[in-house]
Amino acid sequence: MSIPVTVIGGYLGAGKTTLINQVLRQAEGLRIAVLVNEFGALSIDEDLIEAQKGDVISISGGCVCCAFGDNLIGAIGDMVAMVPAPQHIVIEASGVAIPQAIAATLSLVAGVHLAGTVVLADAETVQRRARDTYMGDTILRQLTGADLVLLTKGDLVADAARVADWLRDVSDGAEVVQAAFGHCPNAVVLGAVASGVPERTADLDHGAQYLGLSFEQSGTADPQAVAAVLADAALGLVRAKGFVRTEDGLAEVQVVGRRWAVTLGGAGHGLVCIGLRDRIAADVIEDRMLEHGFHLSRA
């Protein structure tokens, strides 16, 4: 079973550490392994830590491995070989790393697949940093390759929406969501939607920011076509995940922003879509999914 990997990037101070602590706190039984390379500087909240041995910090249900240095592939290999294996791997890229380069590297490691590149942007500083003599082009490269941009500290600026618009512009169409104080559901950050349990989508939205739509399928469909629909920018979806019955069995579909992937096999049913309440085109989604035999499940 291939392990999904989320790459979290963004410049220093954008809130990566806060976000990762939130992700671990919201794990709800999901075994998460975190790989850190911010010069070993990740501070995991004390109450999450169960034990620390060398570079590995054990946390409830998972672990954090610090300082993989220049050997990311080796570190991921170690994670995959762990017993029990993690159910999700999170990589915290260094502040100057280009997350999509890390994402590309993942395709070379057996047993893992990319579940999305999430880049954090500090609402107060990101535009200034993007003009910085030394770091400007690095910041823009990070944003351009993101599947999802998390706007942090939006509560500290007068017009976060304007920053969000600017981010949409420079990030080449990535979905931009706000994550004040690091609050962002794991369903959004990791795509860890508990598929097949559509009624859970009601709890999804902590800050009323998101809307979740659950679909049930009649008949069979082409999973590539379904995934392509969900990745269409016009639908305003941040994430989608679930299963498509095909003529040859089940296929799992995962969508983050404009990126989608289909893997054959798996077990489950139903399909969950998540978008920002003020951007999601619910009617359009409903119509276009119906063309492929999916109808909204009314929980």
Partner: protein, 547 residues
């Protein structure tokens, strides 16, 4: 028998301007009692006269300020370089001039392997000299289709592997989508793996281990043999992980009386918070011995120019390539500098492009204002593209520079033609400007990237000849005397060791390079060809032909 030895030589070049040339040097307990005439030295008391160097020229043992001990481990692989190169055991491998020659040499080595599953590794290949010839999977399959074969590029940034190696690493498949892995018309990888992050999963299958930058025990001993063969007595290992077990190993190996070099490993910055990094360096400093000198930090700011990963200021790359990559954020660099200045830990920072150099100067200036440390000797390593204004800033901040003179010979033509263009290629590794500006300067090989050989490095800085035979940037040439200073006291200064090594004078370590010719008498063109007989380290004699 007396515990004083007086060495007599045809000529002893001391690098001490008060008595630049003498005939004798007296040694006791590893230290120099004095350099002068036999009559002058006689006053120290009973001595044994050692005249085995009667027809030799002695110089202070050379100091290599930027090398990597991993060169010692590389020589267990097959040498595939374009230029002739001598291995630790003294065998000179002729350069291979075509891909067919490379393949023939690999086949020869393959035939000597008994274990049918054993990996075959090669190193130092650079097709750039072979008129754009191509190395790939199909060609390496002709060496062996059944055992994994991998050849490391001279830059250390590319690896060429055969089908079996790809198969073992799970990469012999269609559908790979990675900028570092070109695909053939059949949709399969061509066997060219660009970038350490890409070849890392394959490397163990072709016999290169994970931490390619670190030397193991045998590798360290082999590296020290290269030092003897090149007259080098003090050598840096410029980016070492320095895990506790590695430090124990290095202490044990270098501690042996007959280990022939002083090794200066710098702690590599990656994987630590600035505070941890500096604390580690301080802890290591206290473990130093006379032959293992710890307590310095190496930071990397940007990538390489020929790999288009160096950070350049305007007008950028000559061929229009996008600007390169940062390996550290300015805030982190700033923290490391401030903490290291406060703790008295020297930091050597790799900068290749001039924008990286500018960032270091912009960062160090304010850090020094807030945390003054006289005589810090922070050093810019490579610093290949610095312009005159940047050298003036270095001088003002007390920054040293270690320029990559060898690089100019090996890749100068490429920089002229492709990477930075003619004008900036002529100012690269600007030794003349550095000295005229008063910046303390060393010159280096970055072995194994180019061969360890300080006399060659001196020749490269004196002539500025490129591989194609052109003199590139004649204005930046330096004199033979200046180059000899750079490979002795100049490099020792960047390590705070100039009071201890780098010249032959009373009280200093008895570290000598033993030469068969006189560099001060030779024509500059012949500097690189002066044969090295061996070295003396702390009074111990090491004959290169008897290693």
């Amino acid at each position: 028998m007396s515990d004083i030895t007086i060495f007599a030589a045809r000529k002893i070049i001391t690098m001490n301007p008060r008595r630049p040339e003498v005939s004798h040097v007296a040694v006791k307990g590893g230290r120099i009692l004095g350099a002068g005439t036999l009559a002058e030295l006689d006053g120290w008391g009973d001595y044994t006269l050692d005249d085995r160097f009667a027809d030799k020229v002695l110089m202070p043992g050379f100091v290599e300020g930027h090398a990597h001990a991993m060169e010692g481990t590389l020589w267990r692989k097959v040498y595939c370089g374009f230029f002739d190169r001598t291995d630790p055991d003294g065998r000179t491998w002729p350069g291979v001039k075509s891909i067919d020659d490379v393949l023939a040499r690999l086949r020869e080595a393959e035939a000597r392997l008994d274990d049918p599953d054993a990996a075959l590794g090669g190193f130092q290949l650079d097709p750039i000299y072979m008129d754009g010839a191509v190395m790939d999977r199909a060609r390496l399959d002709s060496v062996s289709a059944t055992r994994p074969v991998g050849v490391l590029h001279a830059s250390g940034h590319i690896m060429y592997v055969n089908s079996k190696a790809l198969e073992l690493a799970g990469l012999m498949r269609a559908g790979i989508n990675h900028p570092g892995i070109p695909l053939g018309p059949d949709g399969m990888p061509t066997g060219v793996l660009k970038g350490p992050e890409v070849y890392m999963p394959v490397a163990p299958h072709v016999g290169f281990n994970r931490s390619a930058t670190d030397a193991d025990e045998d590798g360290l001993r082999a590296f020290a043999k290269l030092c003897v063969r090149t007259g080098t007595t003090t050598v840096t290992d410029l980016a070492s992980r320095l895990e506790p077990e590695a430090v124990d190993m290095m202490l044990r190996v270098t501690g042996a009386r007959r280990f022939p070099a002083r090794v200066v490993p710098l702690k590599f910055f990656m994987g630590h918070t600035p505070q941890d990094l500096v604390d580690i360096a301080v802890g290591l400093r206290d473990q130093s011995t006379d032959k293992l000198r710890l307590g310095r930090i190496k930071v990397i700011a940007d990538g390489s120019i020929q790999g288009f990963t160096a950070r350049l200021r305007a007008p950028g790359y000559y061929n229009g390539a996008p600007n390169g990559l940062w390996y550290i954020a300015p805030e982190q660099l700033d923290q490391i500098y401030r903490l290291a200045l406060a703790a008295g830990v020297p930091v050597h920072t790799h900068t290749n492009g001039d924008e990286a150099t500018e960032l270091v100067l912009d960062t160090l200036g304010p850090a020094l204002t807030d945390t003054p440390r006289r005589d810090h000797r922070f050093t810019l390593q490579h610093c290949q593209m610095a312009d005159a204004a940047q050298f003036r800033r270095m001088q003002a901040l007390g920054v040293c520079v270690n320029l990559f003179a060898n690089h100019h010979f090996y890749w100068g033509d490429e920089h002229y033609r492709l990477t930075v263009g003619p004008e900036r290629a002529e100012r690269m590794n600007a030794c003349r400007t550095a000295l005229d500006t008063g910046v303390p300067m060393a010159i280096h090989s970055d072995a194994p990237v180019t061969p360890l050989a300080p006399l060659f490095t001196a020749w490269a800085a004196v002539t500025r000849i490129t591989a194609s035979g052109r003199v590139q940037g004649a204005h930046e040439r330096i004199s033979v005397a200046e180059a000899l200073y750079a490979i002795t006291l100049g490099a020792a200064y960047t390590l705070h060791m100039d009071g201890e090594v780098g010249s032959i004078e009373a009280g200093k370590r008895a570290d000598f390079a033993v030469l068969d010719g006189d560099p001060t008498d030779a024509s500059p063109d012949a500097l690189k060809d002066i044969p090295v007989w061996g070295t003396v380290l702390g009074g111990e004699v090491f004959d290169a032909s008897a290693l």
